[in-house]
């Protein structure tokens, strides 16, 4: 058994920022990530980020990842990194089991920050399991990390920010996006992203969903259908598209396997993407010294995950007796930043969700 005071599970924006703050507070920690590269999903975000410069606005996600990883690597004495290591168990005595290099390792911790991120939602329709039907994030990984196009003719399902951004990135990679369809009567994401897509000549069809996919070994064709104001299919409004890939961008759901496993109190909050841990003051779950932040405790933008990571890092190290020399000032600053990010109309949903999530 290995002993570690603070273990951070997940090295995406939230986990990296939590580790940085912990180290600055003089708190040692072990950062575990299952991927070979730290940075979480930032490593495939080729677009410039929103927010303010404090959250790296106008910097491309790929470069934010590098900056955050660099910050963490500045503290080799305090931050130990295990990459390509998967946490497979988290128990009430705060023992963590890790699979690393085919070895099963046990770690006894005093406090844990769960920052495991999210997974992509799926959509129910006929033949939705055909190869060639991919989550939007999968398409981003395939083309922006591995340099492989998902296909040559694609339809995007969902017009939230991810659907719009990935459509733009598909066009940049030389893939033809035939259409973006959106079940709700309005475009879900930022209109600046939507306009960016429209001027490329891609239609955004609202009140429209995918009815079925057709194909033998992989998707060859899809049928879309319009929806009325009660979300019922409009008979006769079916339209066929010949495609070799379909991209599903219907949102994310928090990866909360570990919170559930350790038995922390959970709640279904649709505004936050599904099942989330109840969050107590201090950013703890219902179990003392088990913290949760970033998308793993509710789906938001990466900029919010960054700030939440900083806050949780400060709180967790304080709990373990290491108070950051500028604790009060930084907490004020980061809370102000979070409020600012959530202040606009797009933040309303998040704020509603957070209200329900609080203990």
């Amino acid at each position: 058994m290995i002993n570690k005071d603070l273990v951070i599970i997940g090295g995406g924006p939230a986990g990296l920022c939590a580790a940085k703050m912990a180290a600055e507070a003089g708190q040692s920690c072990l950062l575990i990530d299952r991927n070979r590269t730290l940075g979480g999903q930032l490593i495939k975000q080729t677009h410039m980020f929103f927010g303010s410069e404090k959250q790296f606005a106008k910097t491309r996600g790929i470069d934010i990842a590098n900056k955050l990883v660099e910050d963490v690597r500045k503290h080799p004495d305090l931050i130990e990194i295990w990459d390509d290591a998967t946490v497979v168990g988290l128990y009430q005595d705060k023992v963590i089991t890790v699979l690393k290099n085919e070895l099963y390792i046990k770690v006894q911790s005093k406090a844990v920050i769960i920052s495991t991120g999210a997974s992509e939602k799926v959509l129910a329709f006929e033949n939705n399991d055909l190869p060639g039907i991919y989550g939007a994030g999968a398409v981003q990984t395939l083309m922006n990390v591995y340099g492989v196009k998902p296909g040559s003719r694609i339809v995007m399902v969902g017009s939230g920010n991810i659907g719009l951004i990935v459509s733009y990135q598909l066009m940049q990679a030389g893939v033809r996006v035939l259409s973006i369809i959106e079940a709700s009567p309005k475009i879900g994401g930022y209109k600046v992203h939507a306009s960016k897509i429209r001027r490329l000549g891609i239609d955004i069809v609202t009140s429209c969903t995918i009815k079925k996919a057709i194909g033998t070994e992989a998707v060859e064709k899809i049928v879309t259908v319009k929806l009325d104001e009660k979300w019922n299919e409009v008979p006769g409004s079916e339209k066929e598209y010949e495609v070799d890939a379909v991209c599903i961008a219907v949102g994310l759901t928090p990866l909360t396997n570990l919170q559930s496993m350790i038995g922390s109190e959970m709640k279904y909050i649709s505004e936050l993407g599904g099942l989330v841990p109840v969050i107590y003051p201090n950013h703890e779950t219902s179990i003392e010294n088990i913290f949760s932040c970033g998308d793993a405790s509710g789906i938001e933008e990466a900029s919010s995950a960054i700030v939440e990571g900083y806050i949780t890092g400060l709180l967790a190290s304080k709990k373990l007796g290491n108070v950051h020399p500028r604790y009060d000032e930084l907490m004020d600053e980061y809370n102000t930043q979070l409020n600012n990010l959530r202040n606009g109309p797009f933040g309303d949903k998040i704020l509603n969700g957070l209200k329900k999530q609080g203990a």
């Binding site: 799926v122 991919y134 591995y146 492989v148």
Partner: protein, 106 residues
């Protein structure tokens, strides 16, 4: 090869990469160093990676980050390998998985 991105306004894919030889259902094929098994197969136009265990429906990857297990294949005799996150290695034997994966498969 038509699915490989050669030029990109933001990213750089121009660097020459080492070719990796492997087999797919006994067929000799190639990918590049840095590829996962799934990305290399996709670049070859191979999308079907497994069959659903009951109805034997074709399955490809869905999430590409190791969450969904839709990309499970038999690699070097080992079943249920998540090929979307497993790096391609020289000489790998990669096969479409058509069952739940048995211990004696290995």
């Amino acid at each position: 090869m038509r699915l490989r991105i050669k030029e990109h306004p933001i990213l750089n894919f121009e660097e020459e990469k080492k070719v990796i030889h492997f087999t797919f259902n006994n067929l000799p094929v190639t990918g590049y160093e840095g590829d996962t098994i799934a990305s290399a197969l996709h670049a070859l136009g191979i999308k079907k990676l497994s069959e659903s265990s009951h109805w034997k429906r074709p399955r490809g990857f869905y999430c590409a980050i190791g969450n969904c297990s839709s990309c499970s294949m038999i690699v070097d005799g080992e079943p249920n390998v998540r090929t979307c996150i497993t790096l391609l290695k020289e000489g790998m034997d990669v096969r479409v998985q058509t069952n739940k994966g048995e211990i004696h498969d290995k």
